[in-house]
């Protein structure tokens, strides 16, 4: 009973879209598997790690019977990937084994019943729904996601805050030392709602979204968020917690403003970073009239100094930062210039893009 007969890429592309979330070693063996469901010409792929579920489908599946089965996602992907591009692949189900055939290659994979595969109960009904382009959401993620905490005890920091209000969508991420904020306009006008999207979901979305103007549909419910784009539907549970009040952290009045070329500043920092202490990564930023100096030293007393020309007429300042926090933001912006505003060496600094209210980055200094 031939389930599927199709060119390799008809299988590989959708499989790769869903398999990113599959854990390599999971306590539940079936979660290492992907669910394949064939109905007529249509083939659906579904993978889950219990927190996130991704489905995608493709047509042109060929084959002469319908059916559903689960099989090791990583193994199937590795097999398909190592076959020649042009290979015609057939999948046959017989006696609990999935036979993969292509040319003279044969693979016999163990399966687990499709009925045992855990599916997320997808919330139906009145979620808040809005649409934007894949590109603009991807940019929103790019501007913020690097500031998420990774394994913080304050579990609600291990994710990205998404907040809709009126005709605006905002994203905020923070690890407790720096905070990135970005916003984008949306068509729909919605009452305020905020959710915390888990870190893994954010990273996966960043991988899956295309840099194009195709639509992305987002639906928010009380404990789930659903992203539908192209042929992919990703449903994720949310982090249940209270995200810190980001508005309180963004400094309202700052008296010293510096404007610098982003590339120039970033390159100087990348060089200075080479001789920072590997663990603490501290760099001194010394500001004087239209000049910015970077000074770094490591545990071996090796030292780096950089000086670049900037626009600055504020107070002379000598302030320490974790250079990683600065490179993160400079790396993820695309503007020609950045503005960097300070009060003093002990309070938070704000990095913005001149003429763009849609992005803010707050970073705390370090005492060196």
């Amino acid at each position: 009973m031939v389930l599927i007969k199709t060119p390799r890429d008809t299988l590989l592309a959708p499989l790769q879209s869903v398999s990113g979330i599959v854990e390599r070693r999971h306590t539940l063996p079936i979660l290492s598997n992907v669910l394949l469901e064939k109905k007529g010409d249509n083939l659906t792929f579904l993978a889950t790690d219990i927190e996130i579920q991704i489905t995608t489908s493709s047509g042109g599946a060929g084959g002469d019977s319908d059916g559903a089965v689960t099989v090791g996602a990583r193994k199937l992907q590795d097999i398909l990937r190592s076959l020649p591009d042009s290979a015609e692949v057939s999948l046959t189900l017989d006696d609990k084994r999935l036979q993969v055939r292509a040319g003279k290659s044969r693979f016999s994979l163990q399966t687990l019943p499709a009925d045992d595969f855990p599916r997320m109960v997808v919330a139906e009904g009145d979620g808040k729904h809005f649409q934007l382009t894949q590109k603009s959401f991807r940019q929103l993620l790019a501007k913020t996601q690097y500031a998420m905490a990774a394994q913080d005890v304050r579990y609600y920091l291990n994710g990205l805050l998404l907040l809709v209000e009126g005709k605006e969508l905002r994203a905020v991420a923070t690890d407790g030392h720096r905070l990135a904020y970005a916003s984008v306009g949306i068509e729909a006008e919605l009452p305020r709602q905020e959710i915390i999207v888990p870190r893994k979901t954010v990273l996966e979305l960043n991988r899956l979204l295309a840099d194009n103007d195709e639509p992305l549909n987002i639906t928010l419910t009380a404990n789930q968020v659903r992203f539908a784009f192209g042929s992919i539907v990703l449903v994720s549970k949310l982090i249940d917690g209270k995200f810190p009040d980001y508005e309180r952290v963004v400094p309202a009045t700052l008296k010293n403003h510096m404007v610098a070329g982003r590339q120039l500043l970033m390159q100087a920092m990348q060089r200075a970073a080479i001789l920072t202490n590997e663990k603490f990564r501290g760099v001194r930023v010394v500001l004087g009239d239209n000049s910015l100096k970077l000074i770094a030293a490591n545990a071996e007393q090796e030292e780096a100094q950089e000086e670049i020309e900037v626009q600055y007429t504020g107070d002379p300042l000598d302030i320490g930062f974790n250079v990683g926090y600065l490179l993160d933001v400079l790396n993820n912006l695309h503007s020609d210039e950045v503005q960097w505003s300070f009060n003093d060496a002990n309070s938070s600094a704000l990095i913005t893009v001149p003429g763009d209210d849609c992005f803010k980055y707050v970073v705390m200094p370090m005492r060196i």
């Binding site: 306590t27 539940l28 005890v153 579990y155 291990n158 923070t174 407790g176 952290v249 938070s348 370090m366």
Partner: protein, 408 residues
């Protein structure tokens, strides 16, 4: 030792009282301190205070004012349960920095009068008054006049230094003093000699003795022993046959108010621990990632505590509380002492493998035991001393500060 005078000083509703200094307008109304993320009062001039009725979560009451206690609220009670009893009580978040500050203040004030102090935590101390000038003086009709004057002086100094009241029990030993400091709370002063034991101590329930816990108390109840007097009347041999040589003999002595323990002015901590109760019960498998993150975080905090206090641990243990409140602990001995977060995490992980993980968890804790001073061991301390770190964006408030565990 027959003429010792030992005082036990216990601050009255300490955390709540410190908060009342800050918000004097709340004096006389029920106030509860607790909750990991109880909102701070709004400082927009109007000082609107959050009420207990609006609390949603699973924090517990850390301290309640006497007005709140009158409504049935007590320390350790869930805040939601407390809200059912006292919905209009004001709920304030705990501010441990502030409590530590006042703790130092009151201890310093006592030390001016009586320097022999045993620190029993943030809000209580034992004081050896035996050598304080004038303490043994008596007046006609009041043999305890000297002791009373010293105790009053201490209370007055604590009040002057902190604005807070305390309760003092002063007796010939720690056991009786601890009992007595509780008798006339708040702002109490209870003096007692061996001759007063039958009248003042024996009518009290046996479980009031520090050292008779819920289990021993239940066993005593079953045996028909309800009061300390019942215990004192019991045959010591019979107690030993029921409770073992050590505990049985101790029960007999305790009931007669005998306790020779000295006031210990300095002791090395035996263990350090960190623990946290989750916002919601977490499943070991389904919430594996979250739990893993929290677990690692606790180990890192514990390593930081050890480093700050200059200790290394010979044993690492874990504590789990399941959703049905069953609690289990496991401990493992290390080949050599460590203060390293990674090593702690690894061994705590080994402990975790020895407990069943088939139901949801509400609490997770990590403990470092067998402490020794860093450098006492053969291996040099890890060279990663605290270095320059980026300052926190949100202040101390949202960190794990509130979970700072038992340090004794």
């Amino acid at each position: 030792m027959s003429c010792r005078w030992i005082a036990h000083l216990d601050m009255d509703a300490f955390y709540a009282s410190v908060e009342l200094l800050r918000y004097p307008e709340l004096r006389g109304s029920p106030v509860v301190v607790g909750g990991r993320r109880a909102p701070a009062p709004r400082e927009d001039g109007s000082r609107r205070f959050p009420r207990l009725r609006d609390y949603v979560g699973r924090g517990v009451v850390t301290t309640a004012t006497y007005e709140a206690r009158a409504l049935g609220v007590h320390s350790g009670m869930g805040l939601m349960k407390a809200a059912a009893l006292a919905p209009d009580a004001v709920l304030l978040p705990a501010d441990f920095d502030q409590y530590r500050k006042y703790s130092r203040l009151f201890k310093a004030a006592v030390a001016e009068v009586a320097p022999v102090i045993e620190d029993r935590g943030i809000d209580e101390i034992y004081i050896d008054l035996t050598a304080v000038p004038g303490v043994h003086a008596g007046e006609p009709g009041d043999p305890l006049a000297g002791l009373r004057a010293v105790a009053r002086d201490i209370k007055a100094r604590v009040k002057a230094a902190t604005g807070l009241t305390c309760s003092i029990g002063a007796t010939p030993n720690k056991l009786l003093s601890k009992l007595c400091s509780d008798l006339e709370k708040p702002d109490g002063l209870t003096l007692l000699t061996a001759a007063d034991i039958p009248a003042r101590i024996w009518p009290l329930p046996a479980k009031r003795i520090n050292g008779i816990g819920p289990k021993a108390s239940a066993r005593l109840e079953k045996l028909g022993i309800h009061t300390i007097g019942d215990l004192a009347a019991a045959d010591p041999l019979w107690l030993v046959s029921r409770f073992g040589a050590n505990y049985g003999a101790w029960l007999h002595d305790a009931a007669h108010g005998r306790d020779e323990r000295p006031v210990v002015t300095y002791s090395e901590p035996k263990s350090l621990s960190r623990e946290t109760t989750f916002e919601r019960d977490l499943h070991p498998r389904e919430d594996r990632e979250i739990l893993g993150g929290i677990f690692t975080g606790l180990c890192e905090q514990l390593a930081a505590d050890l480093r700050r206090k200059g200790y290394e641990a010979r044993t690492i243990g874990i504590k789990l509380r399941y959703d049905d409140f069953r609690t289990v602990t496991r401990e493992i001995t290390l080949p050599e002492p460590t203060g390293d977060a990674g090593t702690i995490r690894r061994h705590a992980g080994l402990c975790l493998k020895r407990v069943p993980l088939d139901r949801r968890l509400r609490l997770l804790g990590v403990r470092a035991g067998g402490l020794c001073k860093t450098g006492a061991s053969a291996t040099p301390p890890a060279a990663e001393a605290a270095g320059p770190m980026t300052l926190p964006l949100f202040g101390e408030g949202i960190g794990g500060e509130a979970f700072e565990g038992g340090c004794r």
